[in-house]
Symmetry: D2
Subunit: 421 residues, 4 copies
C-alpha cells in the first residue's frame, strides 16, 4: 500500500504470525490492534488451515506515522504472537543498582516468552508477569526476576527488540470450561457441569499428570466447609496450600472450640466469648511454637492445617495487616511471602482459588498463563478483578464455597468409585 | 413527672404493654421510640416475669408538647404493642368513591390487628400491610382491603384510635433461625444448619401442620435446579407456586430443547439458535392454549410446570413488562395477579422464596407477619430489600440456588428415611 | 478444499460479507462461528481496505456434515452480516391463529434486517428482538410483530431463507464510550469522561438531532436526585419517560410529605408514619383521577411528574405486582404497557436508563440495536444482565444515581454556557 | 425470686448499671443477654431519669445454674456496662514467654476499659480490641498490648474479674449519622445530608478540635479522584494517611504517565503499554530511594503523595502480597506496619475510609470505639464486614468514591466561604 501523501506512515516493519491464528482470533486481534492504535497494515500472505487442526500463517507489513507509534503497535501485536520476520537480537544492559532495573527495561507478561541472543531464541524461565528478564551469559539462560531481586551487574533485557511471545492457544475443540479462556460461570448459569470438569482435571493431576495448588480464604471455614477441604488434602487433591493467617486460625479455632469467628459450626448461632476464640487459638499455637508442634504434641487433632502437617503438604501462610497474632507459621513480610509462594508454585499445573480476593490476585500474579486457574467466589467482582489484572486464563465460578466443595467432593468420590458419573 | 415550665409537654395518655416485653425488647423499644420522637414518659408500674416464660406488664404515661406529636408517638409505640389503658372505639367513615379511601384512613401493617367496635375488640381478617381496614356491620367483621378494591359506602377505619396490634413475639427459647427474626445467614456463615431447619419446617408443614408456598425465579432453572425443584413438588413439599413467565418458560424450554435461555443444561455451553428456544417454547404452548393442555396432549412431559399440573398444585404466573409471549397461563394484569396471589396465599404458614427479587417483595407485601419466610438469594441486597420493605420476619440465606436446593432435597430425603440426620 | 472421506461435509453454501469486516471483527467472528459449530470454510476472496475508512469484502464457502448443521451455521453467521451470494426469496406462511406464529417462524434480532420478496430486499420496520416478521403484500412492507399481536391470515416469514441482517458497525475512529459497544465503565474506572460524553450526546439530541428516552427507577428519588432529574425534563433533555408506579409515587410523596419511602429528603432520617406516606400519596392522586388532574388542580406543584405534565412530556408508567395502589396513570396490564412503550419509543435515538433492572431489560428488549443505550446502576449485575439479554450496544456505567445526575447536570449547564468545559 | 427446686440457679452476683441505660438500650440489652444465655435476673432498683438528659440507674441480681454459666453471663453484660456492685481487684499473672499471653488472659474490646488494682479503678491506655492488658506497677498504669509485643515478666490481666467497660453512649439527641451508630447509608438512600455531616465533622476537626485519619484504596486514583483527594491534603483535612503500595503507585503513575493501571485519566481509554506504567513508576522511585527524594529532586510534582511530602503529612504505606515492587516507602512486614499505624493513629478523632476493604478492617481493628469512623465503599459488603468484625461505630456510606469526594470537597469549599450552604 503506497502511503498517501497527507498522512504519511513512513515507518514500517514486516511481521508474521503462525498457529491457530483464525480460531484463536490471533490474526483478527492483531489487525484490530494495528488499526485502533492508528497504524495501517498490508496483508502479504495468508495461509489458512483447512481444518481446525491445521495451523495457519500470515505475513503482513505494519506501518505508522512515527517510529514511536510503530514501536507501540509492534509491542501490542507481540502479545498476540506477532513477531518480526527478520528479528534482531535483544538488547541487554547491566543493572546499575540492587532492587531496581535500568529505565526502559523489558516488562514481562505471563505468557511464555523467548529472547534472541546471538541469533538464537532462548526460552525465559520462571515466567511471571510484571518482572524484568535477566540473561545469564554463563549458563546461556534467561529468567524472569522481580524488581526487588535484581542485583548490580545482572544483564537486564531492554525494550521489546529480540523478544517474542508464545501465547497460549485456546483449544476450540474442547467444549468445556477450559476450552474457553477467561470464561465466567455466572450465578445464573448451571454449575454442575463445570464442577465435574474441575473434578476431572483434579483427578488427572492427582493421578500423576500435574500438581495442584489450592488458595483458600477464611470463608472456607466460616461456611462450614472445613471437613470437605480436609478430605481433599487427605485424599491427595492438594499438593500445596497458600492461605493467610485467617484461614489457619479459624480452622484451628474450630478444632479447639467448635466455632469459627465465634459462630458455632454445629448450630450456627453466636456463642458468648466466641469472639475471643480465635485470639486464644492463636495464643495457644504461639505458646507451642508452630502448627507442626501443636500437631506433634497432640494439641491440634483435626482440620485443614492438621491434615497438611500429617500428609506433609507444604503450605505458605502469608501475613496481612489485618492479622491478629499472627500464628507463628505466618510469613509476615510480604516480599518474603511472595518469594516463598513463587518457589512453591513451581511445577503447578492447576490452581483452585476459593473465597479470597487478596490471595487470588497475589497468586494469579505469580502464575504463568499456561497454568489452569479456577476461581470460586460468591462475589462476581473477585473473578472480574483477577482477569482484569492479567490472569486472563481464569475460569470463574460464581457460587458459594461450601456447596461448591460439597459437590466437588461428591464428584471426586464418584470418580474414585469408578462410576465416573 | 412534673413537666418543666420551659418545655411544657401538656398532652399525655396512659398506655400499657403486656407479654414478653423484656426479652422481646418491646418495652425498651417503646421507651426508645418515645424519647427519640421527642416525648417523655413516666413508668407507673413494671411487673417483670421472673423466668422467661412468665409474661411481663408495664403501665406508663406518655406526654408530648403538642397533640400531633403525642399522636405520632402513640402510633409508633402501637407497632410494639403499646395500647391505651382506656381505649375508645375506632372511627369509621364511609368510602365516598370506588378505588380510594377517604383521606386519613387507617393504614395497616402486617402484624395481627384488632379494632374496637362498641367496646369489643374485633380481629382484622386477611391481615396485610399497606391496606385499609373495612368493617362490615352485617357480619360484625373487619378485614384488610387494598386501595383498589374498596367500594363506595364501605365503612373504612380512620386514624389510630380504637385499633391495636398484637406483634409476633420472637421465641427466644429457640436457638434456630426462626427464633431470631430478620436474621440473615450471610455468605460467610455456615448454612448447613439453616438448611436443616428449613427442611424440618417443610417436613412439619407437609405432614399436615401447615401449607407451603414457594416463590421462584428463573435462576432456579438457569442454575440447573429444575429436577430438584420438581422433586419437591412431586413429594408434596409445595402446596402452591408463585412465579413469573420466565420460570415457566425456561422450565418448558428445558423440556422441549434441553436448554435454558439457550444454555445447554447438559454441557453448560451456548447452543446456536438457543436464544430462540424460549420464544419457540412459548409459541408452542400458546398454540395449544395452556400449560395444562400441553401436559394433557403429551407435549410437555417433564419439569416444574408438568409436575404442578400432574400433582394438581395451584400456581400463579404473574406477568411483567419484560415478558416475551407470554405463556397463555400468565396473568398479565398486575392487579389481577395480586388478587389471585392474595387468594392463593390464604392459609400459608411457610414461604420459601428462591432467586427472585421482584416476586419476593411482591409476595412479602401480601403475607401477614406470622408466616415464616425464608428468602434464598446469591445477592445479599435482595434479602435486605425484603426486610427494608416491611417483611421483617424474613430469614435470609445468601447462597446459590442450585446447591441450596440440592442440600435441601438431600436433607428431606434423609428425614424421610427416618434417619433424621 | 476437498472434503476428507472420513468426516464428509457435503452440504455447503457460498456466502459473502462486506463492510468494515476486519476492524469490526465481523469476518473473524464469522470464521470463528463456523469452526466452533463444527463446520469448515474455504476463503475465496478477501479484499481488505487499505485504510480504516475503506470497506472490505470477503467471499467464502461454508460446509458442514448435515443440512441441519449447515443451516445452524448459516443462521449464526447471518447475525454478523454473512449472507448467501445467491439468495432465495424468503418463505411466507399465513398465521393459522391469533396470538401465535406457525412453528418454524423467523425469529427477529434487534439488528436492522431485510427480507427478500420477488428478488427485492425490503427493510423490516419496527425492528425489535424476539418478534416474528410479517409481510404485507398490499403495501409491500414488512414489520416486526410480537407474538401476542399476530392475527390469523397475516403472512409470517418462516426460517432464515431470504433474510439478511445489517449489523451496526462500531466506529473504531471514536475513542469514546460509544465507539466500543458493550463496554462497561466499572466502579474502578474514571467516570468523569464518560459522563461528559453522555452529556454531549444528550446536548446533540436536544438540539434537534435526536430523541431522548429516559428510563428511571425509584432510587432516582430515594437517593435525592429528584430535583436534578426534574431539571433535565424542564431543560428539554427528556423527550419521553418510562418508569413504574414506584418512581412516580415516591416523587409525589416527596412533593406532598418531603419524604421518600418515609425517609426524610432533608435530614436523611426516618420519620414516624413515614411508611404510610407513599400510600397516602397514591390515595390522594386516585381521589383526583390522574397525575395531570393533580397538577391542574394545584395539588401537585413540584417534581418529576409535575414537570412532565407541565412540559407535556409523554410518560409511560408500567405496572408490576409489587405496586401499591397503583397510581391511576399506571398501565397495570404488562402487554398493554409494552405496546404503549413500543409506540412511544419510536424515533428514540438515545436511551438513558438509571437505577432500574426490570425496566431497563424490558425497554432494552424493545429498542433496535442502533439506539445508543447508557445504563447507570450501582450494581454491576444490572449492566451485565442487560447485555446478556441481547441489548449488547449498552454502555454501562457502574455508579451511584445521585452523583451521576449531579455531574451530568453540571456538564450540561457548562455546555449551555458555551464553556464546553 | 426463689429458685425453683428443679432448675436450681444457685450461683449469683449482684450487678449495677448506670448512665443512659434506657435510651441507649443498655439495660434491655443486659436483661436480654441474661435470658438468652440461660440465666435469670431479679431487678432490685430501677431509677429512670425523667428526661433524656438525666442518667438512670439499675441494680439487679444475676443467677445461673453453674459457675461457668454465671461467668459467661457476667462477661456478656459487662460489654454493656453491667458491673459487679462489690467488685474484686483484677487478677494479674506474669507473662512466662515473649510474644504470647498466659492462657486465660483478659481479651480486650475497643470500648474504654478500667481495671481495679488495690481497690482503685485505673483506665486502660491505648485501648484496642483483641489485645491483652498489661499493668505496670512502677507507673501504676495499664495499657493494651498486642499478643506479639508482650515480653516475659510483664503483668497480664487474667479473666474478667476486676475489669469494667465504659461503653460509648449513643447520643439520641442528634438526628445525624453519628447519633446512630453502625448505621449504613445504603445505595438507595439520600447521601447528600450525610456528606454534609461528614464535611462538618472534618471542618470541626481541622479547626483544632480533632485529628483526621484518612485510609484510602487505589480506587481513589482509578476513579479519577486524585485531585480532589490532593485538595483535602493541601487544605489541611488530612492529618495522617494510611494506604498501601497500590494507592501510592497509581497516584505516582498518574503524575508520570497520566494513567492509572494503564487507563488514561483524561480520556478513560486504555493505552498500549499502559499496564507497564505502574511498574516503571515504582522502578523510578526505587532508583531514587524514596517518595520524598522524588519530590525533593523535582521528579514527582503533583498528586496525593506529593502533597503529603509537601505538607509534611505523615503516611504509612503498608505492604501486601499482591504488591509489585514495592515502592521503597512501603513497610513490607505486616507486624511492623501495624505497629507504625498504631503509633500514628494515636489522638485520631475522626477516620474516613475510602474504597479499601483490607485497610479499612485493619485500621478498624486498631481504633478505639470512641473514634468516629466513616467508611465509603461502592460495595455494601465492605461496610458490613467492618461492623461484623467489631468496628460497630462505623457509619457506612454505600457510594462511588469519585462523586463522594467531589461532593465532600464542594461542601468543604462552601463551608470555607462561610456560606455553610
Amino acid at each position: 500500500m503506497p502511503p498517501s501523501p497527507t498522512t504519511k506512515p513512513v515507518f514500517s516493519e514486516e511481521i508474521k504470525v503462525a498457529g491457530h491464528i483464525i480460531d484463536s482470533l490471533l490474526l483478527p486481534k492483531i489487525l484490530d490492534q494495528i488499526i485502533s492504535l492508528g497504524g495501517e497494515f498490508r496483508l502479504h500472505d495468508v495461509q489458512i488451515g483447512h481444518s481446525r487442526k491445521d495451523p495457519s500463517y500470515a505475513r503482513l507489513t505494519v506501518s505508522a506515522g512515527t517510529a514511536e507509534k510503530l514501536e507501540e503497535i509492534l509491542k501490542a501485536v507481540q502479545q498476540h504472537g506477532g513477531e518480526p520476520v527478520q528479528p534482531d537480537d535483544c538488547l541487554l544492559e547491566a543493572a546499575d543498582m540492587d532492587g531496581a532495573f535500568p529505565e526502559g527495561f523489558y516488562c514481562s507478561t505471563n505468557e511464555d516468552t523467548e529472547i534472541r541472543i546471538a541469533g538464537t531464541w532462548i526460552p525465559v524461565q520462571l515466567q511471571e508477569m510484571d518482572c524484568g528478564v535477566v540473561f545469564d551469559p554463563a549458563t546461556k539462560s534467561a529468567r524472569c526476576v522481580p524488581m526487588s531481586e535484581v542485583t548490580v551487574g545482572e544483564l537486564v533485557v531492554m525494550g521489546r527488540q529480540g523478544t517474542r511471545v508464545r501465547p497460549v492457544e485456546r483449544d476450540r475443540t474442547r467444549h468445556d470450561a477450559f476450552g474457553f479462556m477467561n470464561s465466567t460461570v455466572s450465578s445464573e448459569k448451571p454449575k454442575h457441569v463445570t464442577v465435574r470438569e474441575i473434578a476431572a482435571a483434579m483427578k488427572e493431576a492427582r493421578d500423576g499428570h500435574g500438581r495442584i495448588l489450592v488458595v483458600g480464604g477464611p470463608a472456607v471455614v466460616h461456611t462450614g466447609s472445613r471437613d470437605l477441604f480436609s478430605w481433599l488434602i487427605k485424599e491427595g487433591y492438594v499438593n500445596v496450600l497458600f492461605a493467610g493467617n485467617a484461614l489457619a486460625t479459624h480452622d484451628i479455632e474450630q478444632s479447639f472450640y467448635g466455632t469459627s469467628l465465634g459462630i458455632s459450626m454445629s448450630h450456627g448461632g453466636t456463642t458468648e466469648e466466641g469472639h475471643e476464640h480465635h485470639l486464644r487459638s492463636i495464643n495457644r499455637i504461639r505458646r507451642l511454637g508452630s502448627i507442626k508442634a501443636a500437631v506433634d504434641e497432640g494439641v491440634l487433632t483435626s482440620g485443614i492445617m492438621y491434615e497438611c502437617v500429617r500428609q506433609d503438604i507444604p503450605f505458605v501462610l502469608a501475613g496481612s495487616i489485618r492479622d491478629d497474632g499472627p500464628l507463628p507459621d505466618v510469613i509476615t513480610d510480604a516480599i518474603e511471602a511472595q518469594k516463598m509462594m513463587r518457589e512453591r508454585a513451581q511445577g503447578v499445573t492447576f490452581c483452585l482459588m476459593i473465597a479470597t480476593t487478596l490471595h487470588s490476585i497475589a497468586v494469579g500474579n505469580l502464575l504463568p498463563a499456561r497454568v489452569k486457574v479456577v476461581c470460586v467466589d460468591i462475589n462476581p467482582a473477585t473473578v472480574t478483578k483477577l482477569a482484569d489484572r492479567g490472569t486472563f486464563q481464569t475460569v470463574g465460578v460464581v457460587t458459594d464455597a461450601e456447596p461448591f466443595l460439597r459437590i466437588l467432593v461428591d464428584e471426586l468420590r464418584a470418580e474414585e468409585k469408578g462410576s465416573g458419573k
